[in-house]
């Protein structure tokens, strides 16, 4: 890699830096492709890492579970409130319907007051609203959550035994090989353009 590229890589602090770096090294299409691959890679890394951490840390899994549960519970509370409002609306509609019905003959008893049947238009509307509201309730999936069993952590082999581990270290080295970081002294660190953004 050229010296110019090496220096520029270490000084990429924003979109403008990347855009000025880009034309000398790759087309926009190539960049977009690699950029998309990075997004995909990070998404996978997030998934793998959180899964591995939850598997190996029962306490963390429990905390996460509780956090999710609280979140779900809060969501459920909001959902319940929304449903209650819609049910209330339906009941109000039903009451209004009753009030607008023709006056019943003066029977003198409640038993003889004709109930609003399910066939009235307003009752059907009320029932529809209720059904819609109830249909929105999320299914209880708590019983489907997989049990998380703490696993025994197996010591990894020493360096050099696992090719996979060595490959990972090589990739780390490769990233820093093109970096000027390891060649800097204290004064240089203070003079890196843009480094004050970290302070």
């Amino acid at each position: 890699m050229s010296n110019k590229t090496r220096i520029t890589l270490s000084n990429l602090h924003g979109i403008e830096d990347l855009k000025s770096w880009l034309p000398h090294h790759a087309s926009s299409a190539e960049f977009a492709q690699r950029d998309a691959m990075r997004i995909d890679r990070i998404s996978q890394a997030l998934s793998h890492t959180r899964s591995a951490l939850l598997t190996s840390n029962p306490e963390l899994a429990e905390e996460s579970h509780m956090s999710n549960y609280r979140h779900t519970d809060e969501s459920s509370a909001q959902e319940r409130l929304r449903i209650e409002n819609r049910v209330g609306e339906a009941l109000r509609a039903k009451t209004q319907a009753a009030q607008t019905l023709p006056a019943q003959p003066n029977s003198g008893t409640f038993e003889k007051i004709t109930p609003i049947t399910e066939n009235t238009e307003l009752d059907i509307k009320a029932r529809t609203l209720l059904a819609e509201a109830l249909g929105d309730i999320p299914a209880d999936t708590s019983s489907q959550r997989p049990a998380i069993e703490p696993e025994t952590i197996t010591p990894l082999p020493p360096a050099g035994v696992s090719k996979e581990i060595d490959d990972a270290q090589s990739k780390v080295d490769d990233v820093f090989r093109d970096s000027e970081f390891s060649e800097l002294n204290y004064e240089d660190l203070n003079n890196i353009p843009g480094s004050d953004q970290f302070v």
Partner: protein, 125 residues
Amino acid sequence: MSRLLDFVLGHQQSSAERAAEIDRALIHFEAKIGGDLFGPIPKGVRREFFCLDERTWVWHEEWSDRSGRHVSTTRYDVRPNGVFKSQGNNSYQALSPTEARNLFNAVYLYYQRVVPELMRLQHAN
């Protein structure tokens, strides 16, 4: 025929090199965002945190004091049964509960901060 093969192979290699170079540029870009996830960085300290690949995270710090310059690189290897950290070439350790929790949160923050920036980069070009 030989010259054509050389041309094709040469072109492929060049393409692969460019891809690797773009990846490194993006990682450097991400690493600066990643290093900023943990609050202000003291003057004279260089801190980077980034996703190397689907199963590797890297924490890198450089600083100087009276005893000289220090460089520390910690690699977090993600395995199906847990995450293990490696500093240097010889030690592989399981994470403490606190470190596991911090990493758990850090990778999520990284995703939240970095991915929108990468998407913005796509549109900026």
